[in-house]
């Protein structure tokens, strides 16, 4: 990972089991190609994703983070994504406020039938993160490396 000219970002994606993870599977079944920078972490529901998880992933060295759940109204657990929506809206604004680049942390709704949309989301997120370059703000490891 030392050559910055060959730098490839790593993006952590928290996907809900019922819609977005299924949408990612459908992208595969349909062979929609997307950049290989994404590392998918399956969670039961977008409502399972906390601000701590997002900030901690950033701290651990994620160049980008994507959280994706069912479209509002489609939540397998009735209301999980509605609560998530409020939490993410506030977190997203707060991160912007302290100068975390817009595009580091992204949110989307992708349903089980939206394979192509999933691929588009990954394309879009990856492009934005690549344009931003390696994450340095609130990243623990990089600071440690620089200090060493």
């Amino acid at each position: 990972m030392s050559e910055t000219n060959n730098w490839e970002p790593k993006i952590i994606a928290f996907l809900c089991n019922w819609c977005s993870y299924a949408g990612a599977d459908l992208a595969g079944v349909s062979r929609f190609q997307y950049p290989p920078n994404i590392r998918i972490v399956k969670v039961p529901c977008s409502g399972r994703v906390s601000e701590n998880m997002i900030m901690s992933a950033l701290k651990s060295g994620a160049d980008g983070i994507l959280v994706s759940g069912c479209h509002p109204g489609d939540c397998h657990y009735i209301s999980g994504n509605y609560f998530a929506k409020r939490r993410f809206a506030l977190l997203s604004n707060l991160l912007d406020f302290i100068g975390i680049e817009p595009g580091r942390v992204s949110f989307s709704w992708v349903s089980a039938s939206e394979g192509e949309q999933f691929a588009e989301v990954v394309h879009s997120v990856t492009e934005r993160v690549k344009a931003l370059g390696p994450a340095s703000r609130l990243v623990k490891q990089l600071d440690a490396v620089q200090a060493a």
């Binding site: 701290k59 809206a89 989307s108 609130l138």
Partner: protein, 352 residues
């Protein structure tokens, strides 16, 4: 004619004495005089004869709601972990509350930390509390020995000087931008109600930062929190921070390192502020108690602004309504969702 705060102090003493004498409450949570100029200290009064120690001044900057759960606990009969629950009503505590503190009490009620029936809220309209730091900044290098409080001015005295300054000019930022100075929950009114303040832009400080570029904001953030020594005074003074184990002390996973490393410090403040989202009343105590003068209030104020703009909720205004993060509407805004998607080229599998 005595000053407003003098009259309020008198009324507090009289009412507190009455409550204690009549056995209505087991304790009164208020303020006593501090040992230094411009300081006061939280005081729990349990005997009528001690009520004379209660005071009210422009320097009541600590949020009394922070002490309320402990005060309530202190008046309960002792109970071991295996003992049965106490039968019958538990003793009450009276507490002085301004606009923001009363809203904190409402949040405490919403969050089951305080039983409404056990609290007698002695509501005091706030005229804005004075920032000791602002006063001191006016007299650099000089030692202030006493400050006399008038209704609209302060007389600041040192060993060889005495100067009159405008009171409002040294009122804390949060009080200056406050729109709800009068308590929202009152059982016993002290003094005159204070009208709602029409503040054309209560979020001016936040907007000043919002208008900067992303890099400038990041520079501001790192600069602002660079001096943090992780003393947790902000957390300890906050009535919202009552977790038995704070997230900073979690081990599996360790969300935030315990070092003074800028990342750990920054994460601590971001997550702490976030945990106050929709609950913070902008009482300003965190900032007031910070030994390093960090303006961490700006983070919570930013969240307050968003909660108000997005969900039309201000913390602690209505005891019966849910907190913003425990409720939702079908059409909550979702501007943060990605909308610009990059079209995918269809895979060309042949000729690979």
């Amino acid at each position: 004619m005595p000053t407003i705060n003098k009259r309020i102090s008198e009324e507090i003493r009289a009412q507190a004495r009455k409550l204690l004498e009549e056995g209505e409450v087991a304790a009164v949570l208020g303020y006593g005089a501090g040992s230094l100029p411009m300081t006061v200290k939280p005081l729990v009064v349990r005997r009528p004869e001690d009520c004379s120690k209660l005071i009210w001044s422009a320097f009541c900057v600590l949020n009394l709601a922070n002490y309320l759960p402990a005060a309530l606990k202190s008046v309960e009969p002792p109970r071991g972990p295996r003992d049965p629950k106490h039968e019958g009503p538990l003793p009450k505590v009276a507490i002085l509350a301004t606009g923001c503190w009363s809203r904190n009490i409402v949040v405490q009620i919403q969050e089951h930390q305080v039983a409404r029936g056990r609290v007698v809220v002695m509501g005091v309209g706030s005229r804005g509390m004075v920032s000791r730091r602002k006063v001191e900044a006016l007299f650099p290098g000089l030692e202030i020995l006493a400050v006399e409080e008038g209704d609209h001015e302060l007389v600041v005295r040192g060993a060889d000087f005495a100067e009159t300054i405008n009171r409002w000019s040294v009122v804390r930022d949060n009080c200056q931008s406050c729109t709800h100075p009068d308590p929202v929950l009152v059982d016993l009114r002290i003094g005159e109600p204070v009208s709602e303040r029409k503040n054309p832009n209560p979020f001016k400080q936040v907007e000043e930062i919002e208008q900067q570029s992303g890099d400038e904001r990041w520079a501001w953030f790192t600069r602002e929190f660079s001096t943090c020594i992780r003393c947790y005074a902000c957390r300890n003074a906050c009535p919202l921070c009552y977790c038995p184990t704070c997230f900073v002390d979690d081990a599996k996973p360790q969300w935030v390192g315990k070092s003074l490393d800028a990342v750990d410090t920054g994460l601590f403040h971001v997550l702490r502020a976030y945990h106050c989202a929709g609950r913070c009343t902008d009482c300003g105590t965190c900032e007031t108690v910070c030994p390093m003068g960090i303006n961490m209030r700006l983070l919570t104020k930013k969240l307050n602004k968003d909660v108000l703009n997005l969900y039309n909720i201000e913390a602690g205004m209505e005891p019966d309504s849910p907190l913003p993060l425990t409720t939702y509407t079908m059409d909550d805004p979702e501007k943060f969702i990605i909308t610009e998607l990059t079209p995918v080229p269809r895979a060309v599998k042949e000729g690979k």
